[in-house]
Each structure stands twice: as C-alpha cells, then as structure tokens.
Symmetry: D3
Subunit: 324 residues, 6 copies
C-alpha cells in the first residue's frame, strides 16, 4: 500500500491541560494517510509513505517516526520551508477537544511534480491510499495527485479515498469541487452519510446512501463510520460497508476515549486490510470498526493495536481483562 | 469587579497519586475570590484582585499567576511571613479527593487596615466580590473587610458574598456568627440550601429556601448550586437563581470530573457576569451553571473556559465534539 | 504477619501509552505477599517481609520501598543475579491492560534453605501469608516454603494462601499439583470459584463452592472475590467469606479503575486484618471488599488506603465527596 | 519603555537532547524586544510591548506570558495566520547549540499600519526599543516601523536599536541596506565590532570602533558586547559603552552556561536601565554586563534576575554562595 | 546514634529554573540532624531520628522518607499544625542558589517535654547528635533539648553539635547566647573558624582556632570545614579535625556541584562514623571530607554515597571512571 | 556494514539521581555494534543489524529504535525469554557513573545457528563489525559468530573487532582466550594499549604498541583511543590509528560530559566510515576522534552527530557557537 499526503508535527498539551495553560508539549507526527500506513505496517503489510518534509531535523524526525513503526520512507521528498503543525487540546466531558491548525506555507504544499517518480513508487503496489486533506493543500498538491492517479490507473493499482472533510481547511463547496472529479478514479470511498450528502449530493439515508453513492460514481466499495458523541470522554461508533451487493453492519462500540484523533484513519486501514486479505464483507467491517475502536484507546495518531488485538475485539471479546 | 480574599499556593500530587506516594507537586495558585476574578477577566470584564502576599518569590509568583490571566494586581499588599498552602490529592471512583490546608499564620491573616485605600480601589467598580473563607481568617481580615464594605456602600458598589463554608476552617456556628451580620451589606448571596439552613437558620426547602433567605436578610439576588456526588469521578450539578420575583432553574450536568475544585467560584463568576450583562434570570442561571460545569473539566482552580464555550454549553450544545 | 514471596521491579508505561510507544517508565516494586504486608502495615499491624533480592542498588531499592511503608525487612536475604521485572501497560475501554513478565533466573528463585531461620523469623507471628506465585518459582523456593510451613505448624502460626493463579507462570495442572498438597497446612484460602474448580476439583458453584472447598481440605476459612470486567476502565467486584458456618457476602462495587493490579492482595490483607481484629464475618468481608475496591483507585501495587478510609467505604459511604 | 518586535513560540528539547531525539518540548515565548521589556519590568520600569499575534490560544498564550512578568500588552494587535516558532537544541562542550527558525508567513509579518496608533502608544514613553530582527521581517514591518520612528521623533522619545544580526534571517548586505538608513533616528546603538564593520562599514577596531561608529552616524551612545566562545558550555563575555566622551569597560565574566539565548537582550535592557537611572557610564556598563552574565544562568529568554542580584554582581560579588 | 531536630519539606524548582518561573516542584524531606542520620544508616550504623511532625499525610511522608533509608522513626512525635518548608532554587555560575524558609509555627516548634521519653530513647545509644538549627526553634524546643542533654549525660551518651548557623533563622548574637551554654555538654563540635569567632569569641585563626576553641569550652573534638566558593557551580572544600592533640587536615576537593545542600551534615556524619569506628584522626578527617565532597554530587539532602565509595575517594581514587 | 551483537534495554535514572533514589527511568536501547550501525546510518552508510530479541513488545521496541535511525533490521531473529538490561546512573565530579548489568539468560545468548543465513545477510556488504561483548555471551553466540566469520571470509567481507573489554562480563584471561583466536580473521582491531597488553600480550607502549599488535596478529589496521578521566564530569580523549605504515594521531579533546557511554562505538564507526570513504589515515583518525568526542555530548548510546558536525569539529572548529 502506498499513501500520499501531508506529514505534520502534532503538539499536545499534557493530560487535560488547556493550550492556554500549558508550557509543555508532547510531540508526535501525524498525517491521515501516514496513520493508515502505520496501522497496515503493524498488521504486516508493506507500506510506503509519500510526502514532502523540510530538510532540517524536524523533517527528519517525521520520517524517523514513520520508520520506527515500519513504514518505508525512501520516496518522501526533502525541501521547502516548514512542517505543518497541529496544536491539540484533549477535551473532557462537556468540554470539546480542540485542534489548532498551523499548516499553511508548508513544504508539502510546495511539492513539485518532478520530485515523485510515480511509476517506480507504485510499482508492485496493490493500493494507493489518499485522503481529502491532501487535495485541500492546493494546486501544487493537486498536480502531483493527478500524476499519482494516472500512474495508478496505468499500473492497475487500486485507489482508496477517505473524505476526511475538515472545515478548518476548506468549505464543503470547495471540497466538493475538488473531490468529485477524483471519484472517477476511486475504487474505495471512505466517509459518512454526511459526506455523501454534503460533498457529493447523495440524498439517500441509512444503508441506501452507500449504494446510491456507489452507483452514482461507479465506486466498487463504500464504507461509512458513524459517531454518536455523548461527550468528549465517551462516544459510540459503528460502521457500514457496501461491496456492490449488500451493506454489512459492524457491532457498535461505546468507548471511554483516550485519544479520539486518528480513528477514521484506523478504520480506513482496517477496510484496506480486509480487502487485501480477501475477507468477506462482514469480517471486513467488523475488523475495521474494531480497529477504529481500539485507536480511541491509544495516545496520538498511530493505531498501534496488533492484528491479534483487533481480531479478538472484532470477534466479540471486549471485556478488557488484564493479560498476564 | 473587585475581589478581596486570600491567595494560596496549591500543590497537587500528579494524576491519581496519593500525597503519601508522591515526590512531585504541580504548583498553581488559588483563592476563591481570585478564581472568580480570573473567570471574569477571561470573559472580558476588568477585574482587580486585592489580597496580601509575602515579598519573596513565592508571593510574587502568586501575583504573576493572576497577571498572566489578565487580572489587575496593583492593590495587592506585600509583606508578612508566608503564603498559605493547599496540598491536593485527586480522588477517583470510591476514593474521595482530599485537601490538606496549611493556611495559618499567613501574610493574608496579617493584613493591616492602612494597607488598602478602599475608596481608591473601588473607584469605578461595579461589584465587590467576597467569599466566606476571607472572614474565616480572623479579626485582622474582618477589620479590613469592614472597611471595604463601608467604602462599597458609600460608593454604591454592589456586594456579592459566596458562603464557601469549609469545615476545616471553622465550625458552622463560628461561620454563622461572622457571616450573618455581613448580610446586611450584601446584594447577591451565593450558597446552597444547606448553607441557608446551617448558617442562616432558614428552614424552607427547595425553591422556597431562596425566597425565604432573600426576604429574611433583604437580599436582592440569591443563587444556589446543588451537587450529587455519585463518586469522586462523576458528579451531577444544577443551579437555581432567585431575582426577587421568581426562581430560574438551570439544566443539570453529569460530569466526568477532571478537577472538582473551583466549581463554585466559576458559578459565582457566571452569575456576576450575567448580572453585569443585564441578562434575564434564566440566561444568567444557565450561563453560570454551564461555567461551573466546564470548570470541572479544566485542571486547577481557574476557569479558563471562554465566553463562547460557556454560551454554547448553556444553550444546550454538549456533545463535546472535537473542534477542528 | 510474616509474608514470604518474590519481590519484583514493576515498570509502567506512563498514562495510557503502550509499551511499544514509551521511552519512560515509572518504577515501583511489587510482590503479591509484600503488597498484603504493606496494606497491613498501613493499618497498624507489624509485618515482616521475607524474600531474596540481589545485592546491588536495584535490590536495595526494593527493600527500601517496603521500609518506606513500614514493613520490616531484616529477614530478606541478599544475593543472586537479578530482580524479576514486570512491564505494565495500562488498558483503557475495550483495550486490555497487559503485563509482560521477565521473572526467570531471579535471585528469589535461587533461595537457599540456610538463608532463612524460620523459627526465629516466625517467632511471635500470628500469621504466615503466602501466594501461589511463590511455589510457581520452582524447587528451591518450594524447599524453603516447606521449611516455613513446618516452622509455622510447630509454632502455632496460622497460614493463609492466596491462589493467585497466573497462566503466564504455570499451567492449571502444574499449579494444582504443587498447591494441593500445601492445603493441608493452610488455615485460610483466598481464591475464586474458578480456582476451586480448576485447581482443586471442587465442582460446587456459588456459596456452596466455599463450603465444599473448606470441607474437602479441612480449611478453617475460605474467601472468594468475583470480578465482572465490563471494560479495562470499569469493573464490578464483590466478595464472599466462609467461616466454617456460613457465607457472608459483601456489597458490590462498580469501579472506575486507576490501577487494577494488587486488588487481590488488598483483599487478602483485608481478610487477615479482620481476623486479627476478631471481627464478625460480615464485617470482615465488607472490610476486605472495600479495601480491594479502594486499591483499584490507587496507582501501583500497594494499597495505601487508610483503615479509616476502608471502614468508611465498608460502611456504605461511597460518594467520593472531596474532603476539605 | 516601548518595544516593537515579533513574538515567537520557543520550543526546547529537554536537557541536552537533540531535536532528532526528543518527543517533548518545553514551550516558552520570546522576542528580542520583548525580552528586554521583561527585564526592564523586573527592575521596576513600566514597559509596553507592541507586536501582532494570531487570535487563537497560542497567540493569547504569548500575550499572557508577557503579562505574567509585568509587561503591558494592550497595544499588541490580534490577527493573521500564525505565530513564528524557534526550535531550540541546547549545545554542550564541543557540540554547538542549534536554533531552527520557522518564522515565515507569520502574523507579525502581516502587520498593517492602521493597527498601531503610535502617538498614543508612545505618549509618555522615554524610549522606543527595537532590534534588527524586526525590519528583517519585510516591507509591512518596515512601514509600521517607519511610523513608529516618526512618532518617536515628533514626541521626543529616544530610540535604541540592537543590531541582532541573524544570518538565518538575511544576509549582511540586506541587513546593511535596511538598517543603515534607520541609524539617523537612533540615539543608542547596541552591537559589536563585527556589526560595525560588517553592517556599517566602520573599520576601526577596539575602543576606537565605538567612537567611529558614533561619529559616522551621529549616535549619542554606542554599546558593544564581546563574546569568547570556549565551548557550548563555557563562554567569556565583556562589554564596552561609549557615551560620546569615553569608552567604559566592564568586568569580564566566564560563565558556565545554562541558556545562552537572550544574553544580548539582557544587555540592551541593562544599558537602557542605566540611562533611565541617569547613572555614570562605568556603572551603566557594569550593570548591563552583569545582567547579560546572569541571563546565561537562567532558562529561556527572559532575564528574571532582580535588580538587586544584578547590582551585587556588577559590584564584584560573584561567589555564587547559597543564600539562606 | 540518636538525632533530634526538625524535619522539613524541601520543594525544589527543577533543573536551573527560578522559583519565579516554575510550576513544578520536586519534593523531598530534610533536616540537618536527619540528614546525618541517613548517612550513618547507609554506612551500617543503627540510627534513630527524634522530631515532631503533623499527623496528616505530609507528616507521614516525612517519616516514610527516613524509614526508606533505614532510619528508625518510632520516637517521632505526631501532632501540631504543619511541617516547615524550604523552597529551593539551584544556582548556576555567577547566580547564587537560594533557599526561602517557611518554617515558623511548625509542629516541631510546638514540641512538648512529655512527648519524649529520653532515657528510653537514648538507652543503648553511643551519640546524641544535634545542630544549631534546633535550638533556633525557640523555647519549647530548648526545653526538650535540655531534657535530652540531661539524659545523655546521665546515660554517658556522647553529644555532638553542628553549629549550622543560618542568618535567616537568628542573628549571630542570638545564636551565641543560646549555643554557648550548650557547649558544656558537648563532646564534639562541628563548625568553622567563622563560627568560632562569631559565635564563641575565639579569635585564633587557622589550626590554632580549633585548639583554642576546644580549650576554652573543654571540648574533646573539634572539626571544621572550609569552603571556597568559586561560583554557584564550583566550590573547593577541605576539612580539619582536632582530637585534643593535633590537627589533621584532609585533602581538598574542587567539585562540580549537583546539590550543595547537606554537605555539612554529611561531614558531621563522617566524623561521627570515624569516631564510632575508632579510626585515627587522619583517617577520620579524610573520610568525613570525602563524604562531604560526594554529597555535593547527589541530589537533595541525603548523602546516599556508600561507605565503599567514600573510602575510595578518601584514599585518593578520584577519577570518576565509569563502573561497569 | 553488517553488525552482529546483543541489543539491550538501557534504563537511566534521570539527571544525576542515584539508582537508589529514582522512581523513574528513561528507556533507550543499546548494543556496542548497533550503536556503531546507527552512527554509520546517520552518515549515509547502509547498515544492517543482526541480533536476537524476544517476541514481545520490549523486543519489538528495540527493533523499532534501530529502524527509527535508519538501520535495517530484517535479519534480527525473534524468540527467547528476555532482553538484557543496563541500569545506568550518571556520575558527577568525584562520583563515578555506574552501570548495573542484568544480561544473563537473554534471548541473544540463546541464538541458534539456523536463525541466521549469513551468506545472504552479508551479501553485498563491505564490513562485518563485531565487539568483544558478543563472544562474552557464551558458546551459542560463539557458534553463530564462527558462522558469520566464515561467511565473511568466503565473501571477501572485511571484519572489524572492537575489544570492548568489560570486567563485569568476563575476566581478562577469559576474554584473551576467546578473542585471540578470532584475530586471525580480523582486518581492523579497535582497542587500547591496555587491551594490547592485557588481552593479547603485546608489551610495547605508545605508538609502538599498535605496530607490534598489527604485526603479531597480521592485522591490517589498528586503532586506539586513550582517555584521561579527570572526573566523572570531564575527560580528555585522543586517538591513534595505524595503517600498516605509520601511526596517525588525532587532536585531543577535553570534554564536559553529557553521556559517556557509547564513545568507543562512535569511534569505531568513525574509523569504519573513513575507511569506506577511502580517506588518508590522518583524516580518518581525526574524524573518528571527533565523532567520539561529540558522542559524549549526546544523551544515550547513539551518536546522532551529523557527518557535517563531525567534519567541522575534526577540522578544528570547536567553539560550540550557537547556530542560528
């Protein structure tokens, strides 16, 4: 699996401190596509992250963070002025968590087409995985993305796209205008009923939304996650997966949240993993939903749950009993 | 708004460590009146804290902590032997939190009347805000308090008093003897039905308690908070506000607690803010209850919730969804 | 009370970090028997821990950790290659906690009979407390244990045994073969219905299991704890105690877990404490269950809840209201 | 004293960790001009910082950091995209410390002339203090700076300029082109012999360099610091001050460095303080050099040495004996 | 060895942070006499600390800290309002370290004579060790001290007194008035030439000062330490010891300081240890000076250098080569 | 470059805390050969570490730590009971640092010959790098080592051996008996004059020692480091390199030590790097000595100095001036 997207430095205020209070940050690195790559690497899939980071130590540290968890990084370009930043404050109970983006004028937004030899990068790959936050990065990114999609098509590499709509990056209208044309080259779309309606004009609801979306854009697979936010500390999530024939529903999970960010990326990785394993749809959606659930219990963006842990939860073992 | 009261150093054992286990303290500063001042300053009200701290670095750090959050500190006297201390242990589930007071013989308890030029301090102020923990500090404090109240009366500055009864400071009988005479000069009283009964001899219950209390002491406004403690980790709070005509009830909030201390001070600040804004009683009590709720989700004593966050919760948006 | 068992270094990943993520460990010391000794020492019982640790600083630090909480350590032997280690990862919600044992080839497993003068060590003692993890340590430990039991019998010291079955240490069959013969010298057995069935072949269920177990092995007292694991964050526990006549049931506690390890040891200490105090069975089981409950709210293995805190919870005060 | 310049977030790897190793940052705020303002505020001078920061919490935290140490912040504009960042790695022995700048496209670089009412801001001020890092920020900053200088001239406010040449911001040629015209409006210039030669074309060396520089640009006062860098852990510093008549030399200090950044700002503050106090030149230069020395012993950019500490060192008491 | 003196909570700002900057404290416990007791316990001497601490957790933690390092604590009285506090800031280079005392109105200052059964406490002891900071605590302490000295005399227990003059506690005149009468009951006096002159009116200098002091007050042993403070980071220390016949001089040590506090207590412990071992004077003074030197390299007040480490340094092995 | 050797978990007490004091460890991973591999990877050489670690998370974390810094890890075998541990205490001034080994019965010591396909592992490699700590691990390790050396010989891969004698692992006699036969297959030997004399019976001293050693064992290159330990905080190091013709001497460096461990491994990496670059001997020895010097300024075992930093120091730029 090859991913293409931005890498960012994530700076967390510790515990439940507010950004206004803190004088210490925990530093980690993130990126919707890279998060999925790390999850897949934990589960034994060879993955390669493609991006661009500055040449200085902070850029190198981003690369090292991916290498640490087994993602190949040779195709990441070096150069440009800066790495984007996410300042993160963890919510609690009625107080919402908060993310402040500082991701303008980044090295990634200054990618150049000649920095990426897509036929070589994608050679031997099964999937090219993308999220909507990459094309939100502007024209230079869009041009590289177009190259990647063209190469994928010519090499027979399947393409997955996670909508990952962020209102801090662009409006629904802007996102719709950019993402809709991409769907023609997408095999697997990950999103939600709200995305279907807001970005792609699909008015159907419930199970029918997935099929309608697949039909409208000739998508082979569509997967949705649904989240009920009871509070910043407790959410319920569940998922649906449409394989062209029927919609499979996952269990639902009510979660005491450790870190809510990256749940969608873990879900995307789970669907990709199931497809790579050739599993039946029910098993795929259960695996992906369990992966998303476990991500909420792990700090920072990477889903470091093992395949064994995900499978046990997916099969209904959810007592959280101490292993010793 | 001008506040008068003691500033203390708060030393917290980290996480859920017990005081018996810890060898590290997180240091912050607190004081019931100052906590309210900080909340009001966050919401755009000019506030001034009046107190007394020692001349050394720990005293200066207390002042700096208030300045950091926008409270004016020029009227704080310097001198005397020491700053009082609160050692705090955070409870969990069935284990109660614990506070050890070390607040005898403090600089604040040695205030002298000539250290405070009340007509000048209160000039232009709308409110003088007090809590019952200040007069619990003894005669010297009482004498300064009397000067402050006299000046407030002559300048037409309104007076609010938060009962803040602490059994570690004095008995109910002692508190009653000292606080009751003060009520003649109070416009807004903050407390609870238990305070009305135990300190002021008002036997009515429920809504009627507020009206009875207001009538007995000729108070213009009375506000109560009520707390159900399910465990050290989860409480339910709600509030009532009486404006001389009727009692407004707030929503109730069940809270996963981050830090329970300072909730009452946040509530007091919320009522004062609503009155300063000239809001109707229902809006006032909802704002104050939401402020108190949010304080429980923020570490240490200061309520650093923004006005926007409080208003959104007060208007019913309580899903805690991540803002990004 | 004299305890005999292994001391281990416990290394915790901070907060909810995974062992795969962390580069910092919190170090503490543990041991099922020592944990019980510390709890009893907090409640005013003179306790003595018997074990063996290496001569270097890590071994000394283990001893110091016990001394700090008032346990006598003069009878701990010094020598051998190493202290065993527990790597601990705290679970959350659907993700189970995890313990990695590194406890082979330890100094404790190399105890020698002449290192312990049991008649002297047990002189004046009321109880000798053991757990099943000690005989799991192999033959050298078994030989020392036999000496200790012989000395206890000849001195009239009562013996308690906590099954503490750990599948990472041995199989049920191995445990059964080693523990069953010990029962002839045991006065108080602590375990669960699963232990009765799996280790000792007692098929009865519910209350009847305790009596059947007592009868089969001529035990004077039997105590069980029962745990419902809703998730890694929330468990419900309750207890039963059989005194030869009837089974006393404790309240049940639903707990938001801070640290789940050591709950069984706190329970054992509670039963021993109640027996030492000569309390009626109902009071004993309530005290022990409350002690076990409170342990879940305290970090690391030692139950640093005071007698007063345990008694208040045992008598039904469980609101967790802040003490100030 | 009014200062105008950029505020930045400073992120430090802890201890001697490299940026490539760290996953934790200590956050503080800095800015050459603000650093001087904080030092002056510690010594009792009313100071006001002028700058521009984004509206979000990180911008507010920068303001709060200045308020905490007594600097007035009302004239700081709010808006724009981001706060600049300094990533800092502390050197040791033969390994040089390192600063990575991420300060392009900041809110400060997007200042607008109408955001600052200079006649009002400077009203009553004695000095306007600047450094060369502000005009390095580009044209928008230059335009605001021109307004400030014009207002200062018309109000009779003296102007000080600290060259603070940073090769990461601009070349010597660029700096020379921008800074040289400013000198016509400068009363006090702070720099070094290297600045005199490299930026302003003054070839004289030693004492004569100051006089030549003063004469060439009609400066009233010139102050130099000189640094011998023995290693990243130990430097020797000394200073010279020219008052139009003669050059005063300070003691030299060999320092075991805690934090080398901000030493020049502390020196500038010291010279300004001495001039404000009307001291003789020898006392001024000794005070400023001692302030710069002490800054090296204090973490982060603010010089929190008290006036008393600086004066004691300036008068030769340098044994570092424990005060108790 | 029995010690009598105050126990205090020591709160350190981390690293080289100033008290004005910090929001975190490292907590430890100290007391000049207890520090000596801990050092002696490390070296195998049975020691007992006598003091008074409050009944709450902070008082218990002080006791636990001594127990951890092997000091017996049964004779410590419980009660009174508070534990005294030392706020500590570590100096660096030209910036002096700083200690802020908050030790008025403590539990120790409220000792009562009937709380200590001296004949029983001192039974079997070889030495009673005191410092001048205890009698600085006022009359109640003085009365208990008189009881202790009377009991020591009647039991033949030797008495050592470390002057430990602190100008923050009392003036030289006050100290002289209280300490001089005590000398009649002292066998070993620890101090410096400055103490001899300032407290006891002995004008001789150098070696002669010790003999003159011994003669004037009929002291059996006198020991001095001398310190050259090059900076807060580097000191040179050396020692002298007079045994009634001649003065033995130690090596001198130039030390890179980790923690300067407690050096004198380590020295006192070293002299006592040498006397208890019956060593010749030269060996005694070398051991004590080496112990004092090593204390400077260990954080907080307790000298946790082993006997073996001290002896190796005392015999001239000072290369600090890594032991592995 | 391929390395073969043990990986260990290194647990550091923070700052200058003693192991007896600490309750927190900083975790990193180390291994003499792996340390060299990481340094080479930083400088752009493709490196592969060969070892064996347990299958659990601690083993995986060791692998991840190497991957993070760019070392290939596919040839590391998985299995066996445990990872060895180093407990590390940092010395200061006269107090020596200390390492406690807990490295018996490790997974590495249970390597099996069939776990490593040496012809494949070494295919394309230029060097096989070893240290003396690997064969100290016993017979199983020795057998694998023999396979590796045989494969290296048959493939024409050069072999380097760093003596790395540790008295805690074996005696000089044992080391001599095992290492001497290996020399027949070694091209580059790294050690010291003391190693030449104590392990290999070469009595010559100074420059002559290298030539004598080379001649006696037919070594192509010999490199020595020499260390003067002034204190635990300051050492002087220098190096010599013999290329069969003459001995090149490096500059000498007096270092303020941050972390002394790993200096020898950095030196070995420097020599290998120089040989791979085909540099003249003088440049090689300067580069290696500078690398060893810089390692002392970086925490933990990996030498994360860049090639550029090493070259600058090697060429004499050693002022440690801040880079900004």
């Amino acid at each position: 699996v090859v991913t293409f997207g931005e890498l960012l430095l994530r700076l967390d205020a510790p515990g439940h401190e507010r950004l206004l209070q803190t004088d210490r940050y925990r530093a980690s690195f993130t990126g919707g596509e890279a998060n999925a790559a790390v999850a897949l690497a934990q589960w034994g899939i060879e993955t390669r992250a493609v991006s661009k980071v500055p040449e200085h130590e902070i850029g190198q540290a981003a690369i090292n963070h991916l290498r640490r968890y087994g993602v190949r990084t040779e195709a990441i370009a070096r150069g440009g002025p800066r790495l984007g930043i996410l300042y993160v404050e963890t919510g609690a109970s009625q107080r919402a968590g908060k993310v402040i983006y500082d991701r303008l004028h980044t090295s990634f937004r200054q990618v150049e087409r000649e920095e990426f030899d897509w036929p070589s990068i994608l050679s031997g790959a099964g999937w090219l995985h993308l999220t909507g936050t990459a094309p939100a990065g502007g024209e230079a990114v869009g041009a590289v993305l177009a190259d990647a999609l063209a190469a994928a098509r010519s090499l027979g590499v399947r393409v997955s796209l996670d909508c990952s709509f962020r209102s801090a990056l662009w409006t629904r209208e802007e996102a719709s205008a950019v993402l809709t044309p991409l769907l023609a080259q997408v095999d697997l779309l990950l999103g939600s009923e709200a995305d279907a309606r807001g970005l792609f004009g699909v008015e159907a609801s419930g199970e029918e939304s997935l099929a309608a979306l697949a039909e409208k854009f000739n998508l082979r697979w569509v997967a949705y996650t649904e989240r009920d936010s009871h509070s910043a500390s407790e959410n319920t999530i569940r998922a649906m997966f449409y394989d062209g024939h029927q919609v499979a529903h996952s269990r639902s999970y009510t979660i005491e949240i450790v870190d809510r960010i990256g749940g969608g990326d873990a879900f995307a990785a789970g669907i990709l993993f199931g497809l790579l394993c050739g599993w039946p749809s029910q098993r795929i959606v259960e695996y992906a939903a369990a992966a998303a659930c476990l991500k909420h219990t792990i700090p920072w963006d990477f889903n470091l749950a093992s395949r064994d842990e995900v499978e046990r939860l997916a099969s209904g073992e959810s007592t959280g009993r101490l292993v010793r």
